[in-house]
Symmetry: C2
Subunit: 335 residues, 2 copies
DNA sequence: CCGGATTAGGTTACCGGTAACGTCGCATCC
DNA sequence: GGATGCGACGTTACCGGTAACCTAATCCGG
């Protein structure tokens, strides 16, 4: 073993009487060694408890990194949490590690994060955001690594896109509501008018209404982060303008549940007096007195598919430029 | 600029007519350069858009890494999500990056994660778990980097401990319940009997009852992950054994809300017929028809404090071995 | 039995920072 | 005026893998 520190590739090689390169080849599962050599190497590796040095591997002119950067809007959302957990787990099984960041729906924060990430020479980047700053785009180009845009679908992906159409999710919910005979519909959203996935659902929703000549009776776009509170107070604010509604579509399930709490408090019956629909398919939606009408997102499956797509891309295997994940409108009983 | 690729330290140095080392010193904010040189370097760095190579920095015999590993039970919990987001943000401001993993309350998964992390030569490790395998402990010793055990307090920290006593949280809630006159109390938990923070709260809770000579009237330990469903069905299962209760303490708020949904469905009034208490202080707890009795955890503050403590430790500044974060019992109106 | 293809390795160069240490000039002080 | 100290740099060595290239032995069909 070299003077101090942990055993390295060279230590394994020396005790076995082979070269570093042979050991490296075996460990990377490359070709160019016999069965016998492979077994001897693996045995010695196990005996010494050798730990590879990813830093060194990712360094060099070769630079074969196993690091993948992932940036989502926030870490406090169970939806993104589920995607991340699934992605992390799947990538780990495939031999990759992640560096996770959040951009809080601000393109500048994404850019700052990406700049830091770039200094770690990642093998690929996964972004969950609709808007990228010009700096981000330039940096991605410079980095020259695969990029997966997930969560939403883009018309022109930078490289890969994996997700589903939030616009269609909104559209579908509008059709569901109008088909149920709702006439005076309101919308409560969050994150202002920023170009987020939620805003895209809103646009799809209004389009769905427009299809049959309807418009929103009222809308309330809070600037807060989505959440139970926001749904509660957003509903209160909207109704305080003395509008009469027979249904409300919410930014997401948390806000819908918050809204439900307010509606119940002021004595409205759901769905008799007013209908409610959310988005996201969170677990809580199914234990309410009445199962919430929502759109379920297969987050864990999404994470797994993203992991597989990115790794295929890195291995040079053919990958579809756009992969659509199927979402499901859960009728529930609040419409 | 060297043949191909991005500008490096050497390129900056050459155009300025100084050595790489001088540029490195300026960029790291070390000493040994004049004001004039500093300004010239910074200007050239800005002009070329130089990006440092953390890989190279963390490599070498020097090995000054800015990577910090963080492992939490799961990424789908808003509580841990909030801690991670705050930790991530605070560490980023201090010039550090994180590599995040989850262990799903299984010490073996934590060990596998740590082994992978170790191959990236991190500067420090943050663990949110009560149980560590012997392999984990050995590896941590070998790595020889600062270790912060967060979330729960341990009697003998490996290095640093930052958190609060889950045992005391449970104890305090027991006192709150008994002080309110509750006599026949049940408990609904998750994750089986594994040595988790939740189980520690359970133990503190039973101790609190024992203090005044009481015992639990019923208890239900599900093996599932905590969640709304689990709370709902756990309550159903417990009550199906024909026990009569006047209060239930839950693993956490999500389960309490799930339980509340079941209790309401079967026609029990809260808190008149039965009291309910959760833990965690999640946002949803405050928009229920009656504000949920719970324990609020300052997750964002915890993340910030952990970041500062770890960085102080890395800089060699003195740091308290144990830091206690104050939690707050929210009386609510469900007890 | 021979020549080209394949297999199983070895050799070399290199990546981009950083600790450690050496050096030089200049101000200071006795 | 010589010794001393220190600020401001320059030099050197090095980390641990990996692509690219090279070599020797083996194999196999004609």
């Amino acid at each position: 073993m070299t003077k101090r520190g942990k055993p390295g590739l060279e230590d394994i090689a020396r005790t076995l009487g082979v070269s570093k390169m042979t050991v490296s080849r075996v460990l990377r599962g490359a070709t160019g060694f016999s069965e016998v050599t492979r077994d001897r190497v693996l045995q010695e590796v196990a005996r010494t408890g050798y730990l590879p040095n990813r830093l060194a591997a990712a360094f060099g002119p070769s630079g074969s990194s196993t690091l993948i950067g992932v940036c989502v809007p926030r870490l406090t959302s169970p939806l993104f949490g589920s995607v991340l957990e699934s992605l992390n787990h799947s990538l780990a099984r495939l031999g990759y590690q992640t560096m996770i960041g959040s951009h809080n729906q601000l393109p500048e924060e994404e850019e700052v994060w990406l700049r830091t990430l770039a200094s770690w020479k990642p093998a690929a980047v996964v972004l969950a955001s609709r808007m990228h700053s010009t700096g981000t785009l330039a940096l991605l180009r410079d980095m020259g690594v695969p990029v997966a845009e997930i969560w939403d679908l883009t018309t022109k992906p930078i490289d890969l896109a994996i997700g589903f159409s939030h616009f269609d999710n909104g559209l579908e919910m509008a059709r569901c509501m109008t088909a149920a005979g709702r006439k005076r519909i309101g919308y409560v959203g969050a994150l202002g008018n920023r170009n987020t996935s939620g805003h895209l659902r809103f646009q799809g929703f209004t389009r769905g209404l427009a299809e049959i000549g309807m418009t929103l009776t009222a809308e309330e776009h809070l600037h807060d982060q989505p959440g139970f509170y926001a749904g509660y107070y957003g509903t209160e604010t909207m109704l305080s303008r003395n509008v009469t509604l027979d249904a409300i579509y919410y930014h997401d399930d948390e806000m819908a549940i918050g809204g439900l709490a307010y509606l119940t408090r002021i004595g409205l019956r759901v769905p008799e007096d007013i209908g409610v629909a959310g988005w996201g398919g969170m677990e809580a939606a199914s234990i309410l007195p009445r199962r919430l009408t929502t759109t379920a997102i297969p987050t864990a499956r999404l994470g797994k598919i993203v992991a597989e797509a990115v790794v295929s891309r890195l291995r040079g295997d053919p990958v579809a430029e756009v992969t659509i994940i199927q979402t499901r409108l859960v009728p529930g009983s609040t419409i």
